[in-house]
Amino acid sequence: MSNMKKVLVMLLSIVLVFSFFTACGKEGTPAGNKVDTKDKDNKKTDDKDVTDKQNPVTLITVSMYGGTDPNAENYQRHNAEFMADYSYVTIEDDSQSADQDWKTKIAADFAVGNEPDVIQYFTDANASDVLAADKFVSIDEIKAEYPDYAGDILASALKAASNPDGVSRAVPTTGYWEGLFCNKDLFDKFNLELPTDWDKMLTAIDTFKANNIVPIAVSLNNVPHYWVEFLMLSAAGPDGYSVVPTQAPADWAKGLDMFKTLRDLGAFPVDTDTIDNDLAGELFKNKEAAMQLDGSWYAGGIPDQDNTVLVSFPVIPGGKAQAGAMVGGISSGFYITKKAWNDPDKRDAAVKFVMAHTSKEAITDYWGGNGQAAAAVDPLSTMTPLGVSGLEYSSAATSISSPTDARISQEAYNTLIAGIVDVSTGAKSSTDLLNEVLAINAK
């Protein structure tokens, strides 16, 4: 009887062990079957076959499509699709909105060897800290092994996203433009013309001010960046704006002096020194403010897509820019780090991850009719009147200049931004501020 018990126990144990093996062996099979029945693309089916043979890979990824970014949802959806397509890959994503604190954290991670496998990051001077660590793989090196890498990306976009040393490391998805958003219904209500020139701008400011509408929604303490760029571009023209001088150029100073003129006219909110950029944006969205200078990413969050239009920034008196001069460009892209590239298991997963996020389909999602697309996307049938207005505005640009922070050091640029409130109140001259900024940049 005792022997019978032993045999029974052994038999049950063997059955249990085999059932474990069977369960483990079936891991991933449902996904594979799903693809066999649903996916008609042969290439993908081949990938599925490979999928089952791959070692499990955990890919650490970071992007700027986080927080309140309008593309956060698209990014997460593409991540989910990627993990469904490649069941052996697990993505550990730490995407956040790109602010100064985040940039500092990323720089620290790269310095201590804690960099992710794939990161969507800046490509211009904003990335100088991280580029100094020399931890990214160049696109040429990746293409040597994966010829289809960045295959959907326009050559011009790839060039625009190259790093300051001229080497292409990042695969871009979208570019951007900055422009003057106007609540056209408010202009119509007070029989005003859109501010296509400076006189019309001044008339609009006076009229709105008299009718308790904030003429221009801006937070000088938080995000005066767009005004800094357009005022300097307008005053100096694209050529004078794009140089990096060592002494304060008179044109730049003239542009920044306009902050005081506008402030004295009452163009900004009463609490422009303390209001958040988000709250300033709410003034515009709630029709309590008539104009707001912002980027293409802002368009998607505006509730009234029918009565909001984009207008070229009017040239300031004595400005050297042509009408239609625009600030914009491509300044970010997906990088693969050497850490992932040198890991045999992660290399392929990282490449496939970037390709999934930079395919024509993914770029169409990220673009969504706002800004510039890095691939030859098809026009969207669902574009709103504001989307069309943005497209017309950016298409009609007479020049496209990248913003100042793409050319000068972060510390210098941040000093410029931090000094704008003082320039607007007259506490500091624009020339003094610019000399301080350029001295920091020259260090």
Binding site: T104, V112, N221, D271, T274, I275, E411, N414, V421, D422
Partner: protein
């Protein structure tokens, strides 16, 4: 000698010391070193060299108008802390101690703000002060008044100080109330028999016997005032409006993390530590927490 073997003491002391060394003293020394270099990034990348600039940042402290505002505001906050934070807490503690019923209720009520994070309090007050649709302006509009810019440069410091002071009253209240509870009831009873009024009991019994506790509160208060950061930053970041609400903590943070001037930020951090040590020493010299003990010893 209570213990013959000393080595077990080391087992308990060394881990704490190592933690302090690694996470406090070494970063502090590194911070001093950083203030002497032109740090172009927050951490030194492999192969990157920072330029040695000596005492340049320390010289800048004397010509930077904003650090002057930050220092003045921090010292103003120290004074306000002693008067309004510890003063109010002392008053409340004495009043609550003198009631027979409901002590526990008032303890909870006054201590409650301490359990709310400073960021949340900051956000609440930010919404109170908001010009467009803020609670205070809604009340004004309800009574037919014009809205006020509650964070205008002329009044911003006061408006920031109110929640900063209010939010920590409960902390000192609990410390002082515990101190008062430690005073023997027999002293009050004896004084009452001798005809001493309640008011006089406060001055002749409570306050002298609370000297040590008050000194602790004042030391914590003034050093805490030097570290004020989260609440003002949550209400108006970057010393807004126009830099008038900068404190040493907020200015250090702005220089380090907003402007990326890491070396100057390190210099301000060292300045805060120096001020903290000096001010604590001055406070202990002025108040002399063990003065009562000295007299007791002489007798």
């Amino acid at each position: 000698m209570l213990y013959k073997k000393k080595w077990p003491l080391l087992v308990f002391l060394v881990p704490g010391f190592v933690m302090m060394l690694v996470f406090l003293y070494l970063p502090f020394i590194n911070n001093i070193r950083g203030s002497l270099y032109d740090m172009t990034s927050v951490v030194q990348m492999p192969g990157q060299e920072f330029k040695f600039i000596g005492l340049e940042n320390y010289k800048n402290l004397f010509i930077d108008p904003k650090i002057r505002i930050a220092i003045i505001n921090s010292f103003k906050m120290m004074g306000l802390t002693i008067v309004f934070q510890i003063g109010t807490a002392l008053l409340l503690a004495i009043l609550v101690d003198s009631i027979k019923h409901g002590q526990q209720f008032f303890r909870i009520v006054y201590f409650f703000p301490i359990v709310i994070s400073a960021t949340a309090i900051g956000l609440i007050f930010k919404l109170f002060y908001n010009y467009n649709g803020g609670m205070l302006n809604q009340l004004l509009e309800h009574f037919g008044k014009e809205p006020i810019n509650w964070l205008a440069p002329s009044i911003a410091f006061v408006m920031i100080s109110i929640p900063t002071l209010w939010s920590y009253v409960g902390f000192y209240f609990v410390i002082l109330l515990t101190g008062i509870n430690g005073i023997s009831d027999e002293m009050y009873e004896a004084a009452a028999i001798d005809g001493c009024s309640k008011f006089k009991q406060v001055f002749y019994i409570t306050l002298p016997l609370l000297r040590g506790v008050i000194c602790t509160c004042v030391t914590l208060g003034v050093t805490g005032a030097l570290k004020v950061f989260d609440l003002p930053w949550a209400i108006v970041p970057k010393g807004a409006p126009q830099g008038v609400t900068h404190f040493l903590g907020t200015y250090m943070y702005e220089q380090t993390f907003t402007i990326s001037n890491f070396d100057y930020g390190s210099t301000i951090a060292l300045l805060i530590v120096i001020f903290g040590v000096v001010v604590s020493w001055i406070v202990s010299r002025i108040i002399r927490p063990d003065k009562n003990l000295e007299y007791g010893g002489a007798e």
